[in-house]
Amino acid sequence: MERQALVEAEQQNDLLEQIAALPEGERVLSCLQCGTCSATCPVAPMLEHSPRQIFAMVRAGMRTEVLRSLTPWMCSSCYECTVNCPAQIKITEIMYALKRTAIRERLTTDESDVHRFYKLFTQIVCKFGRIHELLLLLKYMMLRHPVGLLSQSLVGLRMMSTGCMRIQPHKLRNQESFDRMVEKALTFEE
């Protein structure tokens, strides 16, 4: 892969400060780049960018690369990094913030198709108040893995046969007020 030198443009490099300004970013300036987060991360060996590398890229102002990176989408929210970080940085929470920003700025890529799952999940919860697994699986599988749907359906069918897969979505009693609440919450873009 061909690369070029990264030339520092005047206004380019305040990405670290932007993250430091977030409520979850309060200690990110103290990162020593020690690598503990990466070494405790269960998925790090499979990533192109380790968690530490993401923060190194942030310091270098590589905004697009950071937001396009698969790393935040591969985060399993295990919080090992957060608990082991000597600088006590809220790494998992920052990963969430990166995901939200990537969605907002439409920098998600096809490889990180996890975002589609998350958006579907959120849509279903907003609509019904609770998750409806059958609908979620159907929609997601149809969207991304129509072939995989076949192998998934074996599990799905088994679960339906044991009564663990609801067919009908639950309806909240106060659906209207819930809708208003959700609508208001979504007006805040963060």
Partner: protein
């Protein structure tokens, strides 16, 4: 004493057997759990990746609904527990987030000023029911059974208010109370990759297999876990490895109340065993219990 129960979405769907076993056990202990009326999904780790205010609002709605009762809210799912606990923390701090959440709640006709106590089911059993309480309710001691205690991640990270974050012991205490022997294994708080079970089977699967391998090496007969998603995931990953319908070699994965219920002598039907994903679990547990009985009797 009455408690408020927050099931979380999985209890009504994929982890239905967990809820069944929970109420079977509670009824034997004469404890009343009242399901929080009209509760909604807590948002868990998914919604917070899409919209933070929405995520906090979803959690806060439940806290707001629970507050007037003054009762503590008990949930069996660590992800729900973390989501609700985080909401409580964030809303009590400064900044603009609490205001935004308050505005959203208000649009839905609700207010919340803090005060709802949220507890996880495992801690509830250890501290509220008590180890003594469990021991006294045990009718069919699980002597000779080696049970691996698997905690998963969000019950002990980032917050572990009721147990040691690195080497928790609450599950071991429950296991011992049933008469069984905890099978110690190294990775009892490692992440099973449950959040990726649908989107990245390859990654999540590897994480779960590592845990199962470690548990098998420790010589466990079955696994008890504190998280319904972990329970499903450890079953799912075995289900996919073994070809259907043969279940022979699978390691049974039980929820807390299924283990406790077993020791209480509650029927396997009431404990929802037939709903478990892995076929042959019933058979394998019956088999092991028979072995135990023979070992004790013989």
């Amino acid at each position: 004493m009455k408690y408020l129960y927050y099931p979380g979405c999985s209890q009504k769907g994929t982890s239905r057997s967990y809820e069944e076993s929970l109420f079977a056990v509670l009824s034997k202990l004469d404890i009343e759990f009242e399901e929080l009326d009209d509760w909604n999904c807590c948002g868990t780790t998914t919604v917070i990746s899409v919209n933070k205010v929405l995520s906090l609002t979803l959690a806060a709605r439940n806290l707001a609904l629970a507050r007037p009762t003054g009762l503590p809210l008990i949930t069996p799912c660590p992800s729900c527990w973390l989501s609700l606990t985080k909401a409580n923390m964030v809303l009590s701090e400064g900044g603009t987030l609490p205001e935004k959440v308050a505005a959203a709640l208000a649009a839905g006709g609700l207010t919340y000023d803090g005060g709802t106590v949220v507890r996880h089911l495992l801690e509830f059993f250890v501290n509220e029911v008590g180890i003594r309480g469990i021991e006294e309710s045990v009718k069919a001691h699980l002597t000779g059974l080696r049970v691996a205690p698997y905690y998963g991640c969000q019950l002990v990270r980032p917050y572990a208010p009721y147990d040691d974050g690195y080497d928790p012991q609450n599950l071991e205490k429950v296991i011992e109370a049933t008469g069984a022997e905890p099978a110690a294994f190294e990775v009892k708080t490692a992440c099973c990759g449950g959040t990726m079970m649908t989107t990245r089977r390859d990654v999540g699967g590897g994480m779960s297999m590592k845990i199962l391998r470690n548990i098998r090496e420790a010589g466990a007969d079955l696994v008890v876990t504190a998280c319904p998603l972990c329970q499903l995931n450890l079953e799912l990953v075995q289900y996919r490895e073994n070809s259907w319908p043969r279940g022979g070699d699978a390691l049974p994965i039980l929820n807390i109340t299924q283990l406790i219920g077993l020791a209480m002598g509650i029927s396997r039907k009431e404990l929802g065993f037939s709903r478990l994903l892995l076929p042959g679990v019933e058979r394998s547990i019956i088999g092991k219990q028979q072995q135990m009985a023979e070992a004790v009797g013989g």
